[in-house]
Every structure is written in structure tokens, then in C-alpha cells.
Subunit: 211 residues, 2 copies
């Protein structure tokens, strides 16, 4: 599978079709984000991306392949940026967490992307027949809790969180709040509303880390 | 539309088909719960319920009608019980809240029903073409935050929450946690794991209500 920005596929005779892989993946990603994995058909993807069906098949083999590529695109465009907001050593633990949650809030409720989290929306209704995709999404989701745990352990080592605090429980709790923010956004909560949830979470922070 | 437990539909000649409406709705509810509204077809529902397609059409007109009936069935079987755990005047505010969250945790992660919240799963990927259903689900979901707000206002009147506390913010926060519990359950969190989230929430309660 090609990984550069543009690529060619040759179907029979004639000139090769050149298309912008990332622009196409962005459109596919938006559609999966809006509708979820299960409810998005290859016909929908052909229509949304403007690519020809044979081009999609040649490049991604099937819907699953296209979804995996869209997932990688999401990680590159969004997850990496969110992680950068969190793993910034110059910030206090609370500031880093606030920036991370605010970046997520803008992603979940901003007007540039569909409401909610791409991963949560996609996985919400993945059926038994799409078990490999469900597993992949679950792994990525688990990675988020792991990211929070890594962050908290680093900060605990720096003495910003008491040594006896069970950071695993805090990672689980914060992860739950992030999941909840996604659903709230999907139900129509604005960035301001999500900001209230973030403010409450940070207000509770001193007690959260002092068990 | 019949509202009693069993009903008859007559399709052409022959004996009327008698079916157990609630048992049928339970099966439809479980399927919507598992797969979401969008990804569940009438063919799936015919197969899952064991009812004949003409029977379903005669009784519910279309998928939307069947979903609305399943939603009412969910409210009667689950929501009413959860509310009862919350609105119990003999309990302290913290006990009532704990019982409510635990009832939800069992519903989201127990083995009798699909993982997650029926409403959240159903609405996660409702597309633009199903706007009336999306609105209905959104109303019911908003009702949950309203339920929490009503509960908190009652307890504030009883002096169990300081008069100056902004209970609306607390209802929003608790609602976010409930949404998050649903997603976590969907991702495989057990009742025990959700219990940890509930314990953390209740541990934070004194600070939560004292701004």
C-alpha cells in the first residue's frame, strides 16, 4: 500500500489516475466519523471521496482496508497533536491535562469535524461480523488510557502527584470523562459546555490525587 | 397500536397470528442495543424476533415505529427502575447517587444485556436521514441530565447540598460520567471496573458540592 501523499493506480489501459491520497482519506475519515464503521458502505465512500470504486479497491482492497488507512490518518492529524499537548514537560501537571482535555473538546465539538470522537463513534455499533475492526479500534482506545497512565506516572516520578496515589484509578476516571465528553458532544454539547466539564475535573484535581 | 401484552394481526385469510408483543419488543430492543439504529435492518429484526414481516408492518408500520416501541419498552424495563433507585427519600444523597450509578453500571456491563447504554449505542451513529429518531433519542438523553438536576435540586432544598452550589454544573458532570461509563462498558470494562469509577466519583463528592 502506498504511503506517500499522491499515488497512481493503473486499471487496464489508458493514463494512470492520480489522486491525492490524504485528501481522499480525509473525506473517508469524515464519513466514518459521522456515520460509524458499520453504517458506512463502500458506495457511500465512493460518493464521498469522489474516487472511482476500482481505485479504492486497488489502493485499500476493501472497506476494512480503507478504514484502517483512515484511522492512521486520524492518528497523524489529531491524536499526535493531542499527545503533544499532554507530554510537554514545561507545563505543570494540571496545565498539561487542561490543554489536553481542551484539545479533545475542540476536536469533539468544534465545527471542522463531526461531533464526538472518531474512535468512539466508529466503534459504537461495530457488529460481530466486523470483529477484527472492533479489536483494532479497542486497541487504539485502550492506548488512550495507557497514554494518560504514562503521563501520570511520569508526573508522579517528578513528585507532582503523591507517591502513594493509585494513578491507574485516576487514568481510568479521566478516560471515562473523555469518553463522556465525546458522547455529550455527539448529543449537541458545545465546546463551552465541555469546558465546564473540564473546569469541574480540574477543580477536583487536588482531591483526585490525594486519596 | 395495541398496548397490551399479546395482540392479533390478521393477514388475509386464515387464523390470526398471536404473538407476545413484549417478548418480541425485548428481542428488537436487544438488537438495536447491540447494533445501533442505523445498522439494524428490518430483515435483521424479522430474523431476531421470529415475527413475520407483515406482522411487524401491521403492528409498527416501519423500523422507526418498531424502534419507538422498543424505546418505550426500555424505559419501562430499565429507566423506571434506575430512577426509583435515585428518587428514594430515605437514602442520603450520596447513597441514592451510588445506588443509581451502580444500577446503571450493572445495566451497562452486566451479562443480561448488550454492553453499554441502549440510548447511547442507538444514537451513536444515527445519520442525517433519521433525524426524527435522532431527535427522540436526544430528548430522552437530555431527560437523564434533567433527572439528575431534579434530584440534586430536591436534595439542595433539603439542605444536603449547600445553597450556593451550582447544581446544574454537577448534573452536567455526572451525566458526562454516566456517558463515559457506557462507552467504557462498550469497550469491555467490567462491572468492577465501572465500580471503581463510581467509587472515585463518590470520593470526590464533598469537594464536588462545595465550590
Amino acid at each position: 500500500m502506498a504511503t506517500d501523499d499522491t499515488c497512481c493506480t493503473r486499471k487496464g489501459r489508458g493514463r494512470p489516475k492520480i489522486f491525492d491520497r490524504n485528501a481522499m482519506l480525509d473525506k473517508a475519515m469524515m464519513l466514518f466519523w459521522q456515520q460509524g464503521y458499520e453504517a458506512t458502505s463502500l458506495a457511500d465512500l465512493v460518493e464521498a471521496t469522489g474516487a472511482k470504486a476500482p481505485t479504492l479497491y486497488a489502493e485499500f482492497h476493501n472497506k476494512e482496508g480503507l478504514f484502517r488507512a483512515a484511522l492512521d490518518r486520524y492518528t497523524a492529524r489529531f491524536s499526535a497533536k493531542h499527545r503533544a499537548a499532554l507530554f510537554c514537560e514545561e507545563k505543570t501537571v494540571e496545565q498539561a491535562l487542561r490543554d489536553y482535555l481542551q484539545a479533545l473538546a475542540r476536536c469533539f465539538a468544534g465545527s471542522d469535524t463531526p461531533a464526538g470522537c472518531f474512535l468512539i463513534n466508529s466503534s459504537a455499533t461495530v457488529s460481530a461480523s466486523s470483529e477484527p475492526i472492533a479489536d483494532t479500534i479497542r486497541e487504539r482506545q485502550t492506548a488512550q488510557e495507557q497514554t494518560l497512565l504514562t503521563f501520570l506516572l511520569q508526573r508522579q516520578l517528578r513528585g507532582e502527584i503523591p507517591a502513594q496515589t493509585e494513578v491507574k484509578t485516576i487514568a481510568l476516571f479521566l478516560s471515562c470523562i473523555i469518553h463522556g465528553m465525546s458522547v455529550s458532544a455527539r448529543e449537541g454539547a458545545s465546546v463551552d459546555k465541555l469546558q465546564q466539564i473540564i473546569d469541574t475535573t480540574l477543580r477536583l484535581w487536588p482531591l483526585l490525587i490525594n486519596e
